[in-house]
């Protein structure tokens, strides 16, 4: 199947606390990506008021990246950052990826050792992120 080759994935709490952020190793400029995620969050606030469904679609883009968003009913936001050159992904694919991450997030909540509001630590999330960043078949 297609490789997403995403640049970054982020889960942000209702209060805008960073619950989980992963940036691909291919991206040398971590700072730029983080700033982009920051800008994206501003756009999310905007889009939320007009949103009719949980999937928010394309949020914003600059000369290097574009971002997509998803908001859960509890206010938790999922952001996916892709390279601007990435044109193979369809809307249905994006929805599927967000659904998967949403499920992984709720699985994390079910871990009795997870404290709500704290940063998420999950092997399943790490594996799924690695999956999204991959550009070659897994070893």
């Amino acid at each position: 199947s297609e490789f997403v080759m995403a640049v970054a994935v982020a889960l942000i709490g209702r209060d805008n606390s960073r619950l989980y952020t992963r940036v691909t190793e291919r991206e040398k400029d971590d700072y730029e990506v983080q700033m982009f995620i920051h800008c994206t969050l501003d756009i999310v606030e905007d889009k939320l008021s007009k949103a009719t469904e949980l999937y928010l679609g394309l949020l914003t883009s600059n000369h290097k990246y574009k971002s997509f968003g998803f908001v859960a009913n509890t206010g938790v936001k999922l952001i996916l950052v892709l390279s601007l050159a990435n044109t193979t992904l369809k809307d249905t694919d994006m929805r599927a990826h967000f659904k998967r991450f949403h499920l992984l997030y709720t699985n994390c909540l079910s871990n009795p050792f997870y404290e709500l509001g704290k940063p998420l630590k999950s092997r399943a999330l790490d594996d799924a992120s690695a999956d999204l960043f991959r550009s070659t078949p897994a070893e």
């Binding site: 699985n107 079910s110 871990n111 009795p112 050792f113 630590k121 999950s122 092997r123």
Partner: protein, 197 residues
């Protein structure tokens, strides 16, 4: 903690008809409970105990005691429902009954037997789909925690109620839960197994 155990015992007993959030058979009694509720309840119990006790080993001991107290009661429950189970004459029979009858009845999953040692007096019960460990990730800082020790204690308690003394402990492996059981002796004085405090 004693009130905790008794309320948990009744929760555990109702798991006889555990349904793991999958569509499936309705058992004759019709009683069901969500498998997730069961896992989450146990998880909350363990997390709470960790907060109460300073030492992880104390948590392991406490879980074992709770399991033991539950197990002594579950023995009668099990035997009333499985009247065709005959008295075990050796460890292999005991292991078989545990793996093929007891674990499926109370946890809704199957178990396998392996790693016999000490002259066929010690073995492992392997649970590939331990419902207690569903979605649980024990942090590295608590690696000495035997998360499912309640199960080991319950098996020890249940066997003691039928006058078989064993030692039991749990190993959480990445892909399964292993309950290690070692036969000690037959308890000759037929005093009923009492509660461990």
């Amino acid at each position: 903690p004693s009130f905790m155990f008794s309320s948990y015992y009744y929760l555990f007993k109702s798991q006889i008809f555990i349904q793991m959030a999958k569509p499936g058979k309705v058992l004759s009694d019709g009683k069901k409970m969500s498998g997730e509720l069961f896992s989450l309840t146990y998880g909350a119990l363990v997390a709470d105990m960790i907060k109460d006790f300073d030492d992880i080993n104390q948590v392991n001991t406490q879980l074992d005691k709770m399991g033991f107290n539950m197990g002594t009661r579950l023995a009668d429950d099990f035997l009333s429902k499985r009247t065709n189970v005959s008295r075990c004459t050796d460890c292999k029979q005991m292991a078989d009954t545990l793996a093929k009858e007891v674990i499926p009845m109370y946890l809704g999953v199957s178990a396998s037997i392996s790693n016999w040692s000490s002259g066929d007096k010690e073995f492992s019960l392997i649970l590939d789909n331990n419902p207690l460990m569903e979605l649980v990730e024990v942090p590295q800082s608590m690696s000495s925690l035997n998360y499912s020790q309640l199960l080991a204690g319950a098996i020890r308690g249940g066997l003691e109620a039928v006058h078989i003394k064993v030692f039991s402990s749990v190993n959480e492996n990445p892909s399964n839960t292993e309950i290690r059981i070692r036969f000690d002796c037959i308890l000759k004085d037929a005093l009923p197994a009492g509660d461990e405090d």
